[in-house]
């Protein structure tokens, strides 16, 4: 037996892969820390780097402590959890549907959430939720849309992925139409609020928003991370996954619940932010490969870093005004997507 053909040689391959994962995580983590401090410093009130830590700990000028601890910090944390949530939702959907294009918007889930929010903002529907009416309505419609699309796609034999995507696109178009109709008929004084929300923004995010979104997002991430192994196998095809002993039906339902929690949690506080669920997963798949056990944690860290950084740019670029972050991510996302598409020969995104 040659030295090459031994268990030790196979374990060495696994250790090399693990080292690559650790290195990628360390670099991404460093980027996250840098993004955090850059974002903390960015804003209309100038605060030097030296003072940031002290202010974070509550030492210093009361007004400055307030700015750091109650305005910038919660907003950054909101960016982090939303960035992580949208990225993980993208990872899960691309793996589940074996489709590089899949993201929450393709399944119509984002449009459903937008409709719920527009109902709340335009007509005050859902006022029983008080000041949480917009996020709660977004949340409720997110869940309703996910399961509506899922049941539409059910045939006698099971759920086909193609049917699911087509149903998602159709339901998404329907809800988009309804949102446009609401924009057309509502009073002029509430219209800008709806339009602004649809563009996506963290400008109104405080500790309240963080408290509202953290639970569904953590739950959603936990559910999806729990299925990482199954997601690896399902990404090769559902029939193969069943042959290898995966309970595909159960896993699919868990993943759909997980992604709707993530989408609902994030759109409810930041509106519709596109393309993050596409950019982040593809970037990391190019770097570390398709193994979800590493793709999910990296997407959490990288998605958080990306969103924090984008939000800082949106606050800085036309300062003292703010550019809605959805505009930025779309302007950056589309060229990136075209780049990935053009280099696809080198990078296998998945799909057949």
């Amino acid at each position: 037996m040659s030295e090459h053909e031994s268990v030790e040689a196979l374990n060495a391959i696994r250790r090399r892969t693990l080292r690559k994962y650790v290195l990628a995580s360390a670099v991404t983590m460093a980027v996250l820390v840098i993004a955090f401090f850059v974002a903390l410093k960015t804003g209309p009130v100038f605060i030097s780097f030296d003072k940031l830590i002290a202010l974070l700990l509550g030492n210093g000028d009361t007004a400055e402590v307030h700015i750091i601890r109650n305005i910038r910090l919660p907003r950054i944390l909101c960016c982090a959890i939303v960035g992580a949530a949208l990225s993980v939702a993208g990872v899960a959907m691309q793996g589940l549907f074996r489709n590089p294009m899949a993201s929450p918007s393709v399944l119509g889930v984002s449009s459903g959430a937008a409709f719920g929010a527009a109902l709340a903002m335009g007509f005050g529907i859902g006022s029983i939720f008080g000041s949480y009416s917009v996020p709660m309505m977004a949340f409720v419609f997110c869940i309703i849309t996910t399961f509506f699309v899922y049941f539409l796609a059910r045939t006698g034999a099971g759920v086909s992925v193609t049917m699911l995507l087509l149903a998602g696109i159709a339901v998404g178009a329907f809800f988009n139409g309804l949102v446009s109709a609401i924009q057309y008929i509502v009073d002029d004084n509430v219209l800008p609020g709806i339009v602004y929300w649809l563009m996506g923004s963290f400008s109104s995010c405080g500790w309240n928003s963080f408290g509202l979104a953290i639970l569904p997002i953590l739950t959603g991430i936990a559910v999806i991370a729990f299925c990482a192994n199954e997601l690896n196998i399902i990404s090769l095809g559902e029939e193969q996954a069943e042959n290898l002993g995966v309970n595909v039906k159960m896993t699919r339902i868990l993943l759909l619940i997980g992604t709707s929690l993530l989408v609902a949690g994030s759109v409810s506080i930041s509106g519709i932010i596109g393309f993050v669920g596409l950019i982040i997963p593809h970037t990391f798949r190019m770097i570390v490969g398709p193994n979800h056990k590493i793709l999910i944690p990296l997407s959490i860290i990288g998605g958080a870093a990306f969103m924090i950084f984008m939000d800082a740019v949106s606050r800085w670029i036309i300062s003292p005004d703010e550019l809605p972050i959805g505009i930025l991510t779309a302007l950056l996302g589309a060229p990136f997507f075209i780049y990935v598409m053009r280099t696809k020969r080198k990078y296998n995104m998945g799909g057949d």
């Binding site: 090459h4 040689a9 391959i13 192994n229 193969q240 290898l244 002993g245 057949d352």
Partner: protein, 259 residues
């Protein structure tokens, strides 16, 4: 381990694809299934593996109906190398083969030394150790096929279903695979069901051969009982010359051509 196919009939829409198919097999046997395109061979495999449910009859492993065995339990007993399995995401060969341990692995547990030995053995047997680190999306059709066979062996099944396993393989690997399968069936008592178009290979390596035409079993028995001039003419509409060959101690099948 006993595999029993009891009067299985299956229809996709209205036309029957399988009509009252029955046979039995037990540990250590290699069963070959022959038949024309569209005769129901792959459908039969999917019924055995509980992907399709027959409208009458059933498939049983020992005393359990396969469709009632939980997927994970079934995957410990039965592995399949399907005809059209895609490997679309660029996992490495080693990662792909390791997926075969899924039914036996605890949640997020690292493979044990014993499991890694199983992985190594199956990779050596199919000759893929040298490219363990390469991405499956870079492999040729035959190499991919060997990765899939290796993954099925890593499941450590009692029953192995192979749907045209030699399709993309060169002659060397065709014989390599068939020798491997015979060895596993003799030494470990593996029960193998092979769907194939290669009549010569089936004649040489299968303990029993079943010939299917239009969803019905038309002949069943040892290779020399089933692979006859008459049966080949009736099922495939081809003239063949069949003789016993001392050198290979088996049938020598020579296709003459359309009759």
């Amino acid at each position: 381990m006993e595999l029993r196919i009891n009067g299985v009939s299956f229809a996709y829409h209205s036309a029957d694809v399988l009509k009252n198919v029955s046979f039995e097999a037990s540990s250590g046997e290699v069963i070959g299934i022959l038949g024309k395109n569209g005769c129901g061979k792959t459908t039969l495999m999917k019924c055995i593996n509980a992907h399709l449910s027959p409208y009458s009859g059933c498939v049983m492993v020992d005393n359990d109906v396969v469709s009632e065995i939980p997927r994970r339990e079934l995957a410990k007993k039965m592995a399949i190398v399907a005809q059209s399995a895609s490997l679309s995401f660029p996992f490495s060969v080693l990662e792909t083969v390791l997926m075969g341990r899924y039914p036996n692995a605890e949640w997020f547990q690292n493979p044990t030394d014993h499991e890694m030995e199983l992985v190594l053995d199956s990779m050596k047997a199919t000759g893929i150790v040298d490219f363990a680190e390469r991405s499956v999306s870079e492999l040729s059709g035959g190499e991919k096929q060997r990765v899939l066979i290796s993954r099925a062996l890593v499941q450590d099944p009692k029953i192995l279903l192979l749907d045209e396993p030699t399709l993309h393989l060169d002659i060397n690997h065709q014989f390599g695979l068939m020798e491997l399968i015979r060895k596993l069936s003799r030494e470990k008592g593996l029960l193998v069901v092979i769907v194939t178009h290669d009549i010569a290979l089936a004649a040489r390596y299968c303990d029993r051969v079943i010939m299917i035409d239009k969803g019905t079993i038309v002949a069943s028995g040892t290779a020399s009982e089933v692979i006859t001039k008459d049966n080949i003419r009736n099922v495939f509409d081809i003239d063949a010359d069949i003789s016993y060959d001392e050198k290979i101690k088996g049938l020598n099948v020579f296709m003459i051509g359309k009759s």
